[in-house]
C-alpha cells in the first residue's frame, strides 16, 4: 500500500541550527531524512512509521570534505558519489572509495549519504567495516554542543546506537596514518552490482619482517552490528602469518561472529563465507610483504 503524502509533515530548515533547534525542542518527534534512499523506500512501501520528517538534504553545513595535515573530516551529508570523486579520499582512504562504489547503483550513490549509511545502523551496510578498519571517529552535534566518539563505540545492539534523539551525525573524522599500509575490502552479494551484502569485510595492516605489526579488521552482516574483529586481530598481532596462525585467526573469527538467517543468506553460508573472506584477506596480507 502506497503512503498518503497528506499524512506526512516534512519540514525543510534553512540551516543546521534550525534543524538542531527542532530536534532539541521535540526530541524523538522528528525523523531526519537526507538522500532518502532508505526512508523513501519505507515510505513508498507504506512501511514508514514516522509521520514528522526533517529534511537535511539541503544543509550545506553537512556536505563539506575538509583535509588537514593529519586527518580528513567528511561531512555527514556527503554522498557516496562525492566520496568516490574526491582525491583526498582516493589518496588516503581507498577502501572508502571501494565501499562507496559497492553501495547501490549510481543513482543511489548520488543521493545516499555517509551519515545515513551509519545512523541507519544496518549490520549489512557497506561503509561501516571500512570505517572500523580506518579507526574513524564520529562528531555528533546537538543544539547544546558537539561530542566526538570512536566509531567502534557507536553501535550498541541491532539498530541501536548512542546517537541521542536530539543529535545529528555532523562529520566523520579519519586519521591520515594509513599511507603505505596493506588494505583489503571484499563483499559477497547476490549480484555484483547494487546488492545488499551477505558478508562484507575490510582490513588494513602493517607487517614488519613477516610479523603482523598492526591489523584492523571490520566486518558486516555477521552480527547484530558492524563488528571490529578485535580477538582475531589480537591472535595475529606480533605473530608471523603462517598456516597455523591463520587458522587460529579463523577460529577466533568464528567465535566473534554471530550471523543470523535472513532473506539474503543462511547462518552456515555466512559463517563459511566470513571465514573464506578472512583467509583471503590474510593471504593477500602475507603476499603483500613478499611483493613489497
Amino acid at each position: 500500500m502506497r503512503s498518503n503524502p497528506a499524512e506526512y509533515e516534512f519540514v525543510s530548515p534553512s540551516n543546521l541550527a534550525g534543524a538542531l533547534d527542532l530536534l532539541h525542542r521535540e526530541p524523538g518527534a522528528w525523523q531526519p531524512v537526507a538522500g532518502g534512499t532508505e526512508i523513501m523506500v519505507q515510505y513508498s512501501a507504506g512501511r514508514l512509521g514516522a509521520r514528522r520528517l526533517l529534511n537535511l538534504w539541503n544543509l550545506r553545513e553537512l556536505k563539506e570534505i575538509v583535509e588537514s595535515n593529519d586527518s580528513l573530516r567528511i561531512g555527514g551529508g556527503c554522498t557516496f558519489t562525492q566520496l568516490r570523486e574526491r582525491s583526498a579520499v582516493q589518496n588516503h582512504f581507498p577502501l572508502l572509495v571501494t565501499a562507496a562504489a559497492w553501495t547501490g547503483g549510481i543513482a543511489n550513490q548520488n543521493r545516499a549519504t555517509i551519515a545515513g549509511n551509519i545512523v541507519n545502523a544496518s549490520p549489512a551496510a557497506d561503509s561501516p567495516p571500512v570505517l572500523l578498519a580506518y579507526e574513524a571517529e564520529l562528531e555528533l552535534i546537538s543544539a547544546t554542543g558537539t561530542r566526538r566518539i570512536p566509531y567502534s563505540d557507536f553501535h550498541l545492539s541491532y539498530k541501536k546506537t548512542v546517537l541521542q534523539p536530539n543529535e545529528l551525525l555532523l562529520a566523520i573524522h579519519l586519521p591520515k596514518r594509513f599511507a603505505g599500509w596493506f588494505s583489503y575490502a571484499q563483499k559477497t552479494g547476490a549480484r555484483n552490482a547494487q546488492a545488499i551484502s551477505k558478508v562484507c569485510i575490510a582490513g588494513v595492516g602493517k607487517l614488519r619482517g613477516n610479523r603482523v605489526k598492526a591489523l584492523n579488521i571490520g566486518i558486516g552482516a555477521v552480527a547484530p552490528t558492524p563488528l571490529r574483529l578485535r580477538k582475531t586481530e589480537q591472535i595475529l598481532l606480533g605473530s608471523p602469518l603462517t598456516q597455523k596462525t591463520m587458522s587460529e585467526a579463523v577460529q577466533a573469527l568464528e567465535s566473534e561472529i554471530s550471523p543470523i538467517e535472513d532473506i539474503r543468506s543462511s547462518v552456515a553460508y555466512r559463517r563459511q563465507v566470513a571465514a573464506n573472506l578472512l583467509e583471503d584477506l590474510l593471504s593477500s596480507f602475507s603476499a603483500s610483504e613478499q611483493a613489497g
Binding site: 497528506a6 516534512f10 523513501m40 547503483g105 549510481i106 543511489n108 543521493r111
Partner: protein, 158 residues
Amino acid sequence: MSRDSFSLRINGEYRKLEAYPMERLLDVLRERFGLTGTKEGCGEGECGACSVLINGELVNSCLVPIAQANGTEIVTIEGVADGEELHPAQKAFLQCGGAQCGMCTPGMIVATVHLLEKHPKPTIEQIREGLNGNLCRCTGYMRIFEAVEKAASLGTSR
C-alpha cells in the same frame, strides 16, 4: 497537513505547483505534468525505470520527495531530445535495437545521457557500472551496451 508551493524547472520550462512536501517527484512528473515517459518499476530505487536528472545528477525519482526537488532543474526522457532532433543516445538505442518491451528504456536512456556527460568515451566497465542501477528483463543487456557504445561514437553534442 497542508500543501506548500514549489517551483522547479522541468525540461527547460519553469513550473510551479502546490503539493504535499512528501509527494514523490515521480508522481508529480507523471500525474501533474503528464510526463509519463518516466516509469514506475519497483518503487524502491532498485530498477531505475524512474531515472531522471536533477541538476545533472542521475536519481531515482521514486525516492525523491518533491520538497527536495524544489528549486532544481529536472530533465526527464521527454527533455532529452532537442526538439525533433533525437539525442545520440536515443538514435543509438533505435539503431542497435536496445529496447524490447520499452519499460526500462526511458530510464536506460536517461542513465546513458548521464554516463556520457561524465565519460564521453566510456569503457565497457564504465558502461556496465553506469547502467547497473537500471534493470532490463528482456534484452539481456548486450544490445543496450552496444547502443551506449554507439551513442558515444555519435558524440553527445547536439
